[in-house]
Symmetry: C3
Subunit: 348 residues, 3 copies
Amino acid sequence: MSAGAGFPLGRLARMLEATLTAEPERVVTGVAPLDRAGPDDLGYVAGRRHLDAARASRAGAFIAPADLAGLAAPVLACRDPRRALATVLALFHPRVEAVAGRDPSACVADGARVDPTASIGALAVIEAGASIGPRARVGPLGYVGAGVALGEDTVLGPHVVIYSGCELGARVTVHAGAVIGCDGFGFIPGRGGPLKIPQVGRVIVEDDVEIGANTTIDRATLGDTVIGRGTKLDNLVHIGHNVEVGRRCLMAAQVGISGSCRIGDDVMLGGQVGIADHVEIGERALLAGGTSVARDVPAGQRSAGEWARPAGLAHRIWVAEGQLPDLLRTVKRLERRVAELEAEKARR
Amino acid sequence: MSAGAGFPLGRLARMLEATLTAEPERVVTGVAPLDRAGPDDLGYVAGRRHLDAARASRAGAFIAPADLAGLAAPVLACRDPRRALATVLALFHPRVEAVAGRDPSACVADGARVDPTASIGALAVIEAGASIGPRARVGPLGYVGAGVALGEDTVLGPHVVIYSGCELGARVTVHAGAVIGCDGFGFIPGRGGPLKIPQVGRVIVEDDVEIGANTTIDRATLGDTVIGRGTKLDNLVHIGHNVEVGRRCLMAAQVGISGSCRIGDDVMLGGQVGIADHVEIGERALLAGGTSVARDVPAGQRSAGEWARPAGLAHRIWVAEGQLPDLLRTVKRLERRVAELEAEKARR
Amino acid sequence: MSAGAGFPLGRLARMLEATLTAEPERVVTGVAPLDRAGPDDLGYVAGRRHLDAARASRAGAFIAPADLAGLAAPVLACRDPRRALATVLALFHPRVEAVAGRDPSACVADGARVDPTASIGALAVIEAGASIGPRARVGPLGYVGAGVALGEDTVLGPHVVIYSGCELGARVTVHAGAVIGCDGFGFIPGRGGPLKIPQVGRVIVEDDVEIGANTTIDRATLGDTVIGRGTKLDNLVHIGHNVEVGRRCLMAAQVGISGSCRIGDDVMLGGQVGIADHVEIGERALLAGGTSVARDVPAGQRSAGEWARPAGLAHRIWVAEGQLPDLLRTVKRLERRVAELEAEKARR
């Protein structure tokens, strides 16, 4: 797991604002899983649940929470070990700079503008009028449609498809197989079969967005489908036409958002969440995995369950449901008992 | 949003069978979102919910429902504005005819029959025995397997995969990344691990079908998986082996249909609907988004919720569930009260 | 449906350990659906539900359960007809051997090791340091990243993406559009927007695994995401980072497994099952389609429904829920009746 260059623990401690328990001169060259780490590796201890594994580990040092004691090797004690892990991983695995230029096997249309510092992968197709910004990369076998704009440092993985006219900002990452700008699902049912509403809008992906593998984002019927700055989508997510997603949202895998929804800033959606069309999700709302939503969700609310209720209520209902078969029997018995009391009263 | 050619309002009124409130000679050149439309654009007003935006719009004219008054610019008053929108969008954005012929970078097998009016995109692969009909298009980086037949005017987006032996009719549209004809999921559990049942059937896609991005349709074990004429599938839909989908169905994104299901004509499935294997959905049935179905659904029924119930009942149950924690407490109290009455009776 | 070579029924009976009712010399050349089979075809009768179709069939012979009588043509009576079907399909449709070698249009990096018996499809891209084993196949338009290892007889369909450093064992099958080794979804929410945790681990796919079309498997943050030997994943499945899937599991389409889950051996997951992160599913557990799981599931348990309960209980609750609106009314009535009895008691 090491990537060559080494860092002394003392220097890492300063970078991470961590307290180092010993051996500031000791050099580590990478991060490794606890059960595989050797004396040159950092081990990562998220919390107590990793303590046994950490004690058995041969790691040369640990990133660990500040309150965790009893490890055999030096510890970089951190307030937020996960954030520290992110920092050291970025340190040991710096972004590999792509070779600027076009692979000779790529098909780049005459009318495309490709920045000389950009990189076009093997067998990629770039259509006329596309514009590829500084240090942007189009992966092998990727497709960039007519008039598409990619901002600086934006990276498309292999097999990504960007349909014509869509715009991606700076530092956007798109993973393999994602499709941006396909037609929205707009049909009018009718006797002769569904009538297609032409989809002539675009998709706008703002800066610093990340889009997972095989995710699909539909172009708007008119106007724009928008993914706000800093938002991250996992794999196999679907975003319908004319959806407006706010900034810094996180959506886990297989989330589906129907047409014309508005998702506020900082919303978090668990895996497989489904949202019906024209629904508005307020900022900072959090929907647990598997929740399906057909009505607006207020800002800041945590929701869960079928047709999204406040999460606490959803959980109480779920627990209560477990008693429902018994409850039915209890109520039947109660009816009989009350009937007997009533009969007795009538006899008096 | 304009596409060049302009149309006078009077002519549009005749085409749309709409009532025009003023200025039949005024020319518009496109359709634009209300907040971006200028004096050359049509604005689209779906109903009252768009009224404020329409009043603030600089659009030169509006498509609007017949009963909507009080707009500053001429109105094309329509019985069905959404249908009118579809018509004008098709008018202002006519299908761009592809250039006939094979991109020189495409790999077309010697034994493939490609109609001279068909278009084969850059870096597409066409295997032997495939047959590409008049004016059909294979998108860039597409794959058309051995013996596949594409009907006239059928359009495959970039990165589409059609496995060997499948047949697509006329005017079929397949969006990027869709996979048609992959193996059905047929395994027999056993001690030595799951045993694969070879999948040797085909997929038949009838005329006028549309298939969304990254959707997958499995070939049959034996015989055919069928998608009926005029049916439209959204993105990331899964259709299992030997499924027979009827005509004019609409399936929203992330629907999953297990093997050997039969879906009747004109069925509508909301997003993320899941249907267990061998289930039959009667014609014109409508399943709300997120519904999971393990039993047959009768023709015409609207269903919703976990294990699909009639939608009205599903909604009443959902409301009742909200009272369930209170109900448990009420029944416990009732038990105590009845026990007291019984005790009193025993004392008498 | 026939593939040329014919087999006499007597020989098939010996291979299938089936009892043949007549005509051991009769030769059949394929298997066909009951309604299309001709006198040279075998028809497949899974059970009683196929009996009418079998009686109307022109098939020359049948594979059928041992207790099924009354068919007009000879019957290969089998204890497990589905297993017999798998055997004869494999017999009539033997694996087509690919032509060894590299398609001249493929882009194979100098530093890649490709076994001379392996087959590299048209327009595939193989990066440096990749190793392609004996008789392995990379499909047309496939992408094999730097340092990837493919074992012997492993087959990648068209458009498959394997990111750098991942390892696939022997006899693995990956269907079109699947993406293996994309980044895990690791972000730390924070004021400046989500902070990405670099994903530097790998995906290990063990021998005899099958992976469906457009399925995505994330690489580990550190260490490995593992798919155990003999496991089969259907289409559009998502496997998160650091997940460890056991051996011989079956996962139907659109299953989603969040990061760091452990799935035991022989687990079966129905379509659209969703599992929250860090959950452990015990071996031989079975989750019905559509189940969402947020807690550990013990070994051998059959579970169903929202937040996974034992399947029997889930079904009883579902039935009870149907009576819930009535129950609410009954309890309201009971409260009034008890109040009356109490009032009467107070009057005494």
